[in-house]
């Protein structure tokens, strides 16, 4: 909860926080499922490219939300629901790791029946994880900048507080 509520860093979340996190987590999971449509609900869920898009979008949104909330106490109250719950539930680290491992199979570079990750598969997996992180960091930075600009503009017009 330290990212979602910087003011509460190191403290256990309250019951009210957890209710919001649960609601946000359910909605985030629903959005992740919706992003997979019309693909069948296979285990991998989204496939590597949709997953990359969802994770990058979620990082942009979290950057914007966190910087907007720094200027708006009302928005800060909703951060457990929106940041920890919704965006945390929408984006996923585990699927990224598993998708990276299967990328060689998906692109036909590794034999479908091969359980071992060979050279091209390893390079692809590393590139996918590294590329996801770089894109996520760029999106987070862009979102933070967007949130600051929007927060300043809204603050000037007196609408934030």
């Amino acid at each position: 909860m330290d990212i979602a509520r910087p003011d509460r860093a190191g403290r256990a979340p309250t019951r009210r926080d957890l209710v919001g996190v649960a609601a946000g987590g359910a909605v985030g999971t629903a959005l992740r499922l919706a992003a997979a449509a019309p693909l069948p609900l296979a285990l991998a869920g989204l496939g590597p490219w949709r997953l990359l898009a969802v994770n990058t979008t979620g990082s942009l949104a979290l950057g914007a939300l966190a910087s907007l909330a720094a200027r708006s106490p009302r928005l800060a109250v909703a951060l457990p629901t929106l940041a920890t719950g919704l965006l945390g539930g929408l984006t996923t680290f585990s699927s990224m790791i598993v998708a990276a491992g299967r990328l060689g199979h998906d692109l036909g570079l590794v034999a479908p029946d091969s359980a071992r990750m060979t050279g091209p598969g390893l390079v692809l997996a590393a590139a996918y994880v590294g590329g996801s992180l770089v894109l996520g960091l760029l999106a987070h930075a862009a979102g933070t900048r967007l949130g600051r600009t929007t927060g300043r503009n809204v603050g000037r017009s007196g609408g934030t507080r």
Binding site: G25, T29, S59, G89, L137, A139
Partner: protein, 116 residues
């Protein structure tokens, strides 16, 4: 997938998010890495069991898409890396990037080898 199964996946997603919030609340410095590695292990076990025909598609979706998907977080991980990069680059590369990614890969390989 039936409506009941979708609801079960969403409930698991809610549970995963709550579990993550509790762990990160208790372990503010390492909680995100912990949930990401544990959630990746859960997904890897689910993938291995489903691939071997030992887990049905609904149960796999509930545990994999719902619980593991929501227990782990990409956006929270990126935010931690971005925050750490500004203050302690060496520590961030080791503890926030290398450790969770390599641990995640290791548990995935272990699960697939042990259970497939």
């Amino acid at each position: 997938m039936s409506a009941t199964a979708v609801l079960a996946v969403l409930a698991a997603g809610a549970g995963g998010a709550v579990l993550r919030a509790v762990v990160v609340g208790v372990l503010p410095r390492t909680g995100t890495a912990v949930v990401n590695v544990v959630g990746t292990a859960v997904l890897a076990v689910v993938v291995a069991l489903a691939g071997a025909g030992r887990l049905g598609s609904t149960a796999a979706a509930v545990w994999g898409l719902g619980l593991a998907g929501s227990l782990t977080t990409f956006s929270g991980w990126v935010a931690r890396v971005a925050d750490g990069w500004r203050t302690a680059r060496g520590r961030t590369v080791v503890l926030e990037v290398a450790a969770p990614v390599l641990s995640g890969v290791a548990v995935t390989v272990l699960a697939l080898v042990a259970l497939s």
